[in-house]
Amino acid sequence: MEKVFKITKGLTGVPMHYCPGCTHGIVHRLVAEVLEEMDVIESAIGVSSVGCTYNNYDYFACDMLQAAHGRAPAVATGVKRVHPGSLVFTYQGDGDLAAIGTAEIVHAAARGERITTIFVNNAIYGMTSGQMAPTTLIGQVTTTTPFGRDAAIHGYPIRMSEMLSTLDGAAFIQRVSMHDVRNVREAKKAITKAFRLQSEGAGFTMVEILSTCPTNWGIDPVGSLEWIKEMMIPQYPLGVYKDVTAGGDK
């Protein structure tokens, strides 16, 4: 019988610890599949950040460094400057990237650092049990916005893809979503393109991925997919925000 699905070699096989219905695991698989398809598992270097995925150095089969909260783009910069021939990526949540690590991501993008950032936006702090993130929606209840995020008190959600796409150093930025199969496929295409452009030396690349956190949203797994579609996408429209090869194949 023909084998139609197998676990990618880009993952170590260590069982993942994510909650039921969490889409972090799917994102991992997509990244790992692309590493395998590009045949770079042996040369790529990843940077884990601080958040629920802090220990994905155990899951990805390539060499990995674990960075302090928000500092992954700076760590990746150091790695890339030593190994310009290696594919270098960061994997960051929205608290990590859009709050404590804002300076590092902005400047890595502005420098056109030849790295790829996998930016998982789940509108909340997952690991520390559901506090407000910079990406939390207006009205969204979190453990630190128990009455809902109020713009007058907490300010507004940040759209990182839009913001970073204004920087000349950014070569490719796309926002994708995990809420259905079609979009998961689209996400894989985006990751492939980002990695490919990185290896061509185009500049900074990022794929922002709308992802679930059923545990801290307090919504069941299926409802969470629906919540991305109904609530998150209107605030964070999907699409390509920057593509220096525009007019090309995307």
């Binding site: 990995m64 674990q66 302090a68 700076a74």
Partner: protein, 356 residues
């Protein structure tokens, strides 16, 4: 073959790093160490290296974490306020055991303070500064030639022990000009770094650079290993300069600029018949405990006088080493003020006269 040139302390650090095989520099501008960056911005181009001006000291130290964690010899430099920002990185580098070299050309604090020389970061660099139980190997030079050779040595020590080495210089040492003999050829050791996340792994070895261990048993194991490495460094790497200790009645302890002043004081005092000696720690950690406690046991020694450009920091380590055997007096200046030779000589005279 070697070359004799007149250099500023900061430039000597920069050139020594290049000679030591460092090809990656990450830093953020701050006085009084900017000459390191200016020098390397040009010099790294000659040697096909990387000079990168980071967006902050926080970013710079994390670039060091990445580049050194990926196997390279890396330098960052800053001055006091910037070193405060790097403390998060210091702790992570210690936990992940990444060989790194950091220069701190100290200015006066607290806060933004001023840009004049000080030694107020002794506690921060020698005792910790970041969170958790860790040590930095801390080297303090008192002249430009020594700064050059210690910087080169710092890279070997960092690689040998997989530790962060701090070159701790006060602003005077960074700014002053002295002749330096630069070796043409260096007998640089090449350290194999099989642990590095270099993306060049063979077989199934999967390299991870990290400081997080959720399992308490494993994390205590890491801490125990770090502590035994620190004991090994204490046993093997103490460097200290002493002078006129044989018959000294008063022993000055000082590092950096203060040790230079102390040497002149010793000569002057001798002329007046007062026997003064000097213990100058070159490694601030590991601290030269043994020579100080030995000296404290000598009958000829009446008292210690510790001189620093701060309100009294290294003096705590001196007191621990003296362990109550002799009186330890302290004289410090802050805010960028530097004690004059006469000022110290005056104190020495009073101690000698029993009037302190």
């Amino acid at each position: 073959m070697s070359n004799r040139v007149l250099m500023k302390g900061n430039e000597a650090i920069a050139e020594a790093a290049v000679k030591a095989g460092c090809r990656h520099y990450f830093g953020y501008p701050i006085t009084p160490q900017t000459e390191i960056a200016h020098y390397l911005a040009k010099r790294m181009k000659d040697v096909d290296g990387v000079f990168l001006q980071a967006e902050s000291e926080v970013a710079a130290i994390n670039m060091v974490y990445g580049a050194a964690g990926a196997g390279a010899r890396v330098l960052t430099s800053s001055s006091s306020p910037g070193i405060s920002l790097k403390q998060e990185g210091f702790s992570y580098i210690a936990g992940a055991e990444i060989p790194s070299v950091v220069v701190n050309v100290m200015r006066c604090g607290p806060g933004l303070g001023g840009i004049l020389p000080a030694q107020g970061d002794y506690f921060q660099c020698v005792k910790g500064g970041g969170h958790g139980d860790y040590k930095n190997l801390v080297l303090a030079a008192s002249g430009v030639q020594e700064l050059f050779s210690l910087t080169m040595e710092a890279f070997d020590l960092a690689d040998k022990y997989r530790i962060l080495v701090v070159i701790l210089a006060d602003g005077t040492i960074g700014q002053m000009m002295e002749p330096v003999i630069i070796p043409e050829d260096t007998d640089m050791k090449i350290f194999d770094k099989p642990w590095a996340a270099s993306g060049k792994k063979g077989g199934n070895v999967h390299h991870t650079i990290k400081s997080i261990y959720i399992d308490p048993v494993v994390l205590e194991g890491l801490n125990n290993r770090l502590q035994s490495k620190y004991r090994e460094i204490e046993a093997n790497e103490v460097r200290v300069e002493t002078s006129a200790l044989e018959d000294a009645e008063i022993v000055i302890t000082a590092f950096g600029t203060c040790a230079r002043i102390a040497k002149n004081v010793i000569k002057e005092a001798a002329r007046e018949g007062i026997k003064v000696g000097l213990i100058r720690p070159i490694t601030l950690w590991p601290f030269p405990v043994e020579i100080i406690s030995e000296t404290a046991r000598k009958d000829s020694v009446k008292a210690f006088l510790d001189i620093e450009l701060n309100a009294g920091q290294m003096v705590e380590d001196v007191r621990l080493a003296v362990n109550g055997k002799k009186e330890v007096l302290f004289h410090g200046r802050t805010g960028g003020m530097i004690p004059s030779q006469e000022e110290i000589l005056d104190i020495v005279r009073r101690i000698a006269g029993g009037g302190f």
